[in-house]
Subunit: 210 residues, 2 copies
Amino acid sequence: MTDGAPVPILHEDPVSGNCYKIRLTAALLGMPIERREYDIMKGETRTPAFLSGVNANGRIPVLQVGTRFLPESNAACWYLADSSALVPADRFDRADMLRWMFFEQYNHEPNVATLRFWMHFVGRDKLTEFQRVQVEPKWMAGTAALKLMDQHLAANDWFVGSAVTLADVALFAYTHVCEDSGCFHLADYPAVRRWIARVEGLPDFVAMKD
Amino acid sequence: MTDGAPVPILHEDPVSGNCYKIRLTAALLGMPIERREYDIMKGETRTPAFLSGVNANGRIPVLQVGTRFLPESNAACWYLADSSALVPADRFDRADMLRWMFFEQYNHEPNVATLRFWMHFVGRDKLTEFQRVQVEPKWMAGTAALKLMDQHLAANDWFVGSAVTLADVALFAYTHVCEDSGCFHLADYPAVRRWIARVEGLPDFVAMKD
């Protein structure tokens, strides 16, 4: 943060991987953030106070900086890490980092994270018919995303360049808990497992449940 | 581009909004790019030459810079526009621009663009059963995305700050052709319509079909 800038406030649910990305980014940067916790399952992000004061969409995470509010987990990570060592200095590498972050939101999160939410938090028996028909396609698409990651990590320690970047932070969040859904098995992705251990071994790493 | 850097090559299908974003970014920057065209409907991005030489995923767009390849449309736009006037100089605004670009890939493109592809290019009669059951949920989610854009644009000329940024470029691509699907009507979103005219009036604007 710039000297004198307000400490950012993270509006979050601690079980959300999207929220965890932002806490992990702040931890790796040694940057203080305040945390305001909400329970999605209890509708705490749908209250009038939340909708009028934080995010009219009722979605978290939202990063508050003074009087401004920033939704979208990967944008919040960028805000915290802008111009730090978590963002590559090389122009192509910087774009390549964003490439993996867009991949995460398009190909990974809607499958790997959604199945975790449905199967682990909502419960298979409580899914709607429309959710139920999506389980298999989301399992296939999530498997494809994990395979692509495994191929890349078989030849590279990190997603971009030779050190951790926001691409690793973004992809780590839901990958390391992908087994929660019962749909994915990390034993099938050995390079991903080694990379998970690499991330967990970083100085200043914080676990999702901390 | 830096002096001496190779002219980027865009591997694209000219009817794809994701590819058009990159052409529009280059045009607004007055930056030369080469174009290599493929027809998705004819499987031209699934040939062995494409899969081994451009993108093992068989997806376009891919931006080639020398011997390196960059998938993900919004990452390619970022590469071209990095440090230009299309990316805000203010730290929060820069993150807020990325916020809208992640919104585009998570909430807008999978609905507005996918319905355009299914209803306009594939044809309603040729949809699979699984695609057919998704038409209504995608119409609802696409409508929510367009409404959120319309609310924002009712109070702001541009998505971030007081000038065009990559957020506008990314969201313009599929919004201005959203009626192709037969599912969305721009008359329902008057602020979006005025913004479309604003984008089309920019110096150096190029149309999707140019």
